[in-house]
Amino acid sequence: MDFPRGKVIAVMGGSGSGKTTVLRLIGGQLRQQSGSLTVDGAQVSTLNTDELYKMRRKMGMLFQRGALFTDLTVFENVAFPLREHTRLPESMIHDLVLLKLHAVGLSNAAELKPSETSGGMARRVALARAVVLDPELVMYDEPFAGLDPISMGVTANLIRKLNDALGSTSIFVSHDVHESFSIADHVYFLSQGKIVAHGTPKEMMASTHPYVKQFVNAEADGPVPFHYPGRSLAQQLGFSGGADA
């Protein structure tokens, strides 16, 4: 897989296909058992803890559930990376945080606690936190999951705009075909830990690959079985033979 600088890349696939694992491997939270993985010229698996942390300072990551620090306010959450990694004066931190919160539409929610925000708001705060240090690489784990259609569209546009404004690279994993195809430059489809197809959104829409077709058109029948593999219903009910229902 290649994630060129300045591009927005979507990694798509069904549950358990290995999408989040790709992000964890890039971030060094997991080490690959074989093959090689290079980020900005460095082999991630050979980095020691200090080198890994140095590399992560150039990254931002949006977690699936936001992962906001529950004992801090929205403002403090976004200010956290600035306070940990910079020696900026408090007035500048204040302005930077408010600008980032404004970009996600939440500058007026700065004093709320994460428990006082909705799921969509928490995700947008986490997005502001992920990009507050203007990282070179931003990874988004299911950025659209659980969002209402308005927030989903706004978040998708925000990912694209932030990427273009910062000149960074964005990788996001998602199930949402419409939003992902609308902002991605390139799409990878994964199934059972393997790349089954990749290309531009346009190419993927026109793809005749059975997995991509099933996924893009949300078809029940295809290479991905709806039923968990095992005995047929007839067998489970005690009737002999019978095909799977």
Binding site: Y53, F69, E84
Partner: protein
């Protein structure tokens, strides 16, 4: 038979592995503590959280333990005509033994469980993973400040427990039963040695603070990231923490007070 032996072997191997991980994490926290000197606020905030929130239960418990010591002490001493030594008995019992031990047991139940649940939920909610991805070491930012806060708060809480307990013993012994007030305080002043009694009690409470706080943090840090996992970890904090306090108390008492 072979199956049982294999199961025993697995159990022992797991135990040794857990002990190794616990020891390594302990020294990693100590090594990660240097940065706290530049950011003491991280520790003082936690002292407030751990210490202040435990204050009420410690003070109330100390008072009732003092009441009971006053009653039981008077009942026993009166048999030998030595009720004048009630103050000494109450003070020695509290400073040498009950202050550090009961405080540590209450601490495990109040602050220890809160720490385990907090760290466990941070792990389950991916907050610790998010911190790592922001290039911030959770050992430095989360565990080390809480560890030192617990170590500092414990002796202070034990001192409060003992002080309130002595006042409780005074109320029951002097005010209610009528033991001579002068004898109560003077016997205490004459019989309690600062180094042998008070200081050894402080050492005990520091050791208990290290043990209970670390057990609470480690259980939270190693908890399965699920609600059931956090609940199990919280229970383990109370069980392992309490047993460790009692075992360490015996060890320290044998070392300190044996001739």
């Amino acid at each position: 038979m072979l199956d049982r032996l294999a199961a025993l072997g697995r159990h022992v191997r797991q135990l040794l592995s857990d002990l190794g991980t616990a020891t390594r994490t302990f020294f990693a926290i100590i090594a990660a503590s240097g940065g706290l000197l530049r950011r003491p606020r991280l520790v003082t905030d936690q002292i407030h959280f751990i210490g202040n929130y435990s204050l009420v239960i410690i003070a109330v418990s100390g008072m009732f333990v003092g009441f009971v010591l006053g009653l039981q002490g008077y009942y026993t001493l009166n048999k030998y005509g030595s009720e004048q030594a009630l103050g000494l008995l109450v003070a020695l019992s509290l400073t040498r033994e009950l202050g550090p031990v009961v405080t540590a047991l209450l601490f495990a139940g109040r602050a220890g469980t809160a720490l385990t649940a907090e760290i466990g939920l941070m792990k389950a909610d991916e907050q610790l993973a998010a911190m790592e991805m922001m290039a911030v070491d959770p050992l430095k930012r989360v565990l080390a400040p809480r560890f030192w806060a617990g170590v500092i708060a414990m002796p202070v809480l034990a001192a409060i427990f003992s002080a309130v307990g002595i006042l409780g013993g005074y109320v029951v012994g002097v005010r209610l039963i009528g033991v001579d007030e002068g004898a109560f305080w003077s016997q205490m002043q004459g019989g309690v040695d600062v180094w042998n009694d008070v200081f050894n009690g402080v050492i005990k409470s520091v050791v208990f603070g290290v043990a209970v706080t670390y057990i609470a943090l480690f259980q939270g840090y190693r908890a399965d990231p699920t609600p059931a996992g956090v609940a199990r970890a919280t229970t383990r904090t109370v069980v392992i923490g309490s047993l460790s306090v009692l075992w360490l108390d015996f060890l320290l008492t044998a070392l300190m007070f044996s001739q």
